[in-house]
Symmetry: C2
């Protein structure tokens, strides 16, 4: 088992990564909780819920299962889970366990953050993508008019990452998760970036390689988050690839592409803009080829309307007064921010489609 510590504004918490951890969650958590609610989704429940439940020898353990998928990150499910907390008798000393991917983590985290003004929760991620969302304390639900519009900053008390649960992931989930690992490499570790895009990913990636990639990804993210938990400064860099990524995701309709697939296209676009505007030397072709080889949906952009995408980007939380703020790269490992007006962004997006994506 590997360990990593993260300093949040109010407490220090640990990330444990290992094989089979789900069987010993009950003994790995620090603190004792008389009442525990495990929140998971309909895909994860039949696979791992019983294992996690069995791992607790003390305390009363209840469970709540939400439908799998991004549409569960909504006001309705949020309210239902709060009702479940009350009906199961959770009090201020209770624990929420978020067992699942980013949707479960974000939603269950927001429930824990706001139930009785905040109770403890732990993240038990079951996707590669959740190496990103499970650390850093961003929790949220979506509003019809925008992703993650409702939420807060509320860090877990622990993250327990069982690598075995990644073995059952469909390949598109591996693709989705690796987009964020590639992003983390671009931000602060060109070696990680190069290592990943030199590999052919398969469903049975070697355990040590996977743990290594996840640890490096989490280390990069946590170093940034420790500097700037509330996203007043450097944390914004973590949105590399997300300005266009979020816009693609919501414009295509949630569930049509995975988050990471959309971010991968956004990452290519950020590299393209970095080259055009900053003259940065960017491995665009190498990344494009690797994405194509692994089946990332590179043609998704074609079917989407540029001006609709730009309208979405302007509504992004990172945008201010209608101006789009994009994370660019001066070179691999050196992010920066740049503001864009509509027209310029529109031109860049059109040229990107012509020059890179076709």
């Amino acid at each position: 088992m590997k360990e990593l510590s993260i300093q949040a504004s109010n407490h220090l918490y640990k990330v444990h990564i290992g094989s089979g951890l789900r069987h010993s969650i009950g003994s790995l958590i620090k603190g004792s909780y008389p009442q525990i609610l495990i929140i998971t989704d309909s895909e994860v429940a039949p696979l791992y819920l019983e294992d996690v439940k069995q791992s607790f020898s003390e305390g009363r353990v209840d469970t709540a299962v939400i439908p799998a998928g991004e549409q569960s990150k909504c006001m309705h499910q949020y309210e239902q889970l709060l009702t479940a907390c009350i009906e199961n008798g959770l009090d201020r000393n209770s624990l929420v366990v978020a067992l699942g991917g980013g949707v479960v983590g974000d939603l269950a985290g927001f429930v824990a953050a706001t139930y009785m003004r905040g109770i403890d929760y732990i993240q038990v991620p079951t996707t590669i993508l959740a190496h990103d969302s499970s650390v850093g304390g961003k929790v949220a639900i979506n509003h019809e008019q925008g992703k993650n519009m409702i939420g807060c900053f509320y860090s877990p008390t622990q993250v327990l990452y069982d690598i075995e649960t990644l073995r059952t992931l469909p390949f598109y989930e591996i693709r989705s998760g690796y987009a964020e690992i590639v992003k983390h490499g671009c931000l602060d570790n060109p070696g990680l970036f190069k290592d990943v895009i030199s590999r052919k990913l398969t469903s049975d990636i070697q355990e040590e390689v996977l743990i290594d990639h996840l640890l490096q990804g989490i280390a990069i993210k946590s170093a940034i988050v420790e500097q700037d938990e509330k996203e007043k400064g450097v944390r914004k860099y973590l949105n590399l690839g997300h300005t266009l990524g979020h816009a693609i995701e919501s414009e295509a309709g949630y569930g049509r592409l995975t988050h990471g697939e959309a971010v991968a296209i956004g990452l290519l676009f950020a590299m393209y803009v970095s080259r055009e505007k900053l003259g940065a030397d960017m491995p665009i072709t190498e990344l494009y080829d690797w994405l194509e080889q692994h089946g990332y949906p590179l043609d998704a952009l074609k079917s989407l309307n540029s001006s609709h995408l730009i309208a979405r980007m302007k509504k992004d939380k990172k945008s201010s007064a209608g101006i789009v703020n994009m994370v660019l790269l001066q070179k691999l490992g050196e992010p920066t921010m740049m503001e864009f007006q509509d027209q310029e962004l529109n031109d860049l997006l059109n040229h990107f489609q012509e020059e890179v994506m076709s």
Copy 2:
């Protein structure tokens, strides 16, 4: 204008109290906000909304008016206000102004706390009761099954208290607000307690007296909150009178009694229990007479079922594993906590009704 500073965990904020402040809110706020949303209710809007709106010479100012009353502190209004934030184009640099009493402050504060993971908000209280709720950063909405069950700790960036807005309060609101001032006196300032209960309150309390009482109340609350923002310890004392108070409020049905009226009865009960259990010398008769003289609904308890009230107390956020934690007084100005089981609490409640309330 009087000023008082409060140290929250993440920032220092000021409370300004004065006459006519609503006309200069725009110039009194520190920081510049390109986009402002004033949230108020249907009773306050016709009286003061235009004044506050006019006070802003810069920035785009939008408004949202909720129906007056506790029933607005609900999930539905919360969601509607978040939609209003999006539709009015609020971004991370925008400001929410909570203009109203505790309902508006709690609800608008929770909206600000969770919109885009938290934007700035200021409290502009228009009731005496809100001298309590507008400081300390507790924001929340109610769940059908419990008051303030959903919320977080999120302090305003400023509190601007215009004494003139208290002039239009109906007398039951003055009664309601003064219950919390009396509570603050009991907790940490016997002089304030004695001063208040030696007076005959009227709708036209002298301005200096009112400012003095409010300032003392806020000073007591803020000193406690500065020590323990997240209610792990001493902040619990602020719940003096609230264990039974909340139970009465919800058992009678919100809106039947005001919050302060219910707390006043809870305060009497806390004094009674303090005398019975701790042998404390408590001015029960003096407080009872003063409450009766001012029309507090002392007979409300008669019509309520004791076991229902106790079931409500056990569901209170301060309760843990079904044991009720009550704040008692060793003497005026010296609070302490004590745990109670059902049966004992039931006996105490029945004796209280027989000995004190009839």
